[in-house]
Amino acid sequence: MHFSTSDILVLALSASVASAAPYYPVTLKDPITVPFIPFNSSVTTTAAPAQTPVSFPLANGFPDPSNEAQIEIELEAGGTLSNAPPPSNPGRDALTNLQLVAFNELFEVAFYTDLLVNITTFQSGFEIEDEFEFNFTVDALTAIQSVSYPFTHQKAVV
């Protein structure tokens, strides 16, 4: 969803480490096989993409992007993660909130990535005929996808 989620997620991960709960990094096994098409690449292919669901990590390393990738994501999203300090002693239920939000965000990234691929490779049912509408929609969806990026790689703060 939203740029402040990364700090939120940092809090969740670091707090769970601090409380000695088991920590499984959020990396899934198979690299993406559907190409991630950034907004300003020229899309001329008419080949159908692989009929596989989006899987992580994405080409830019998400959910563990490099610092450079993170800067690009923030640029595309129109803003930055919050640099304000997180709460010092959140309860267990607060962490559950963060886990749910992170899980939801991973779903949203996958969803919008899939949708963008379908539109920019002109899949049946996803065609946008008018060029202005096509560009406007792809721009809006790319920003939404970038806004959906939570991050998992920042330093522990708690």
Binding site: T5, Y24, L28, S82, P86, P87, P90, N97, F103
Partner: protein, 195 residues
């Protein structure tokens, strides 16, 4: 899906009220997205004056439908409930008038009985409990109806346009909050989108 309202309430009660502002900013940003998606469908930007509230477990359950089973290794660490799937068979046929909603569930996922009820959560109003009818069993599949009282039972309806959430609960209790509904839910959420 109304979930972030619950997230804010939980942060306040879990010694993390400093995060409420950030969630509020996210709710607003998501609203901006929603306006866009509604406009390109030629709908009014806002679906209702007060969007429907929800509870985290409903969102967590709904997300399972988009997740390849077994593909999220840490899913079991999230201490939220996953309810039985509540299939709404005729959501597209329902309008801002009274109607009848049709549901189907898989009885192997959670308990179901002909004395159960459907509870509707709409807007910021008290949940509305309606007994189920036409209970029919076909193997593991159970179908049933329930009134969809958009206009209410005496024209004093409390449903909003936009999203309404349904849950199946045992018996015929009235609930005083969405939280209470979630605690009693066996199947849900069923989703309705009016306009």
């Amino acid at each position: 899906m109304g979930t972030l309202q619950d997230v804010q309430a939980v942060f306040t009660n879990a010694n993390a009220s400093g995060l409420v502002r950030g969630i509020g900013s996210v709710i607003g940003q998501e609203g901006e997205q929603e306006g866009f998606f509604r406009i390109i469908q030629n709908k009014r930007p806002s679906s209702a004056a007060f969007l429907t509230t929800s509870v985290r477990d409903f969102a967590f359950t709904a997300l399972q439908g988009f997740t390849v089973p077994g593909s999220c290794p840490s899913l079991g660490e999230i201490p939220l409930n996953i309810f039985g799937t509540l299939n709404v068979l005729n959501a597209k046929d329902l309008t801002n008038k009274n109607g009848t909603a049709q549901f189907r569930v898989n009885s192997t996922q959670a308990p179901i009985s002909s004395s159960d009820s459907v509870v509707y959560i709409s807007g910021q109003n008290l949940p509305v409990t309606v007994p189920i009818a036409n209970y029919y069993v076909n193997g593991v599949w159970v179908t049933f109806d329930a009134e969809f009282p958009f206009e209410g039972f005496q024209g004093n309806g409390t449903f909003n346009e936009g999203l309404t959430i349904a849950a199946v609960v045992p018996g015929n209790t009235q609930f005083s909050s969405a939280d209470e509904v979630a605690l009693a839910t066996s199947f849900g959420p069923g989703l309705f989108e009016i306009n």
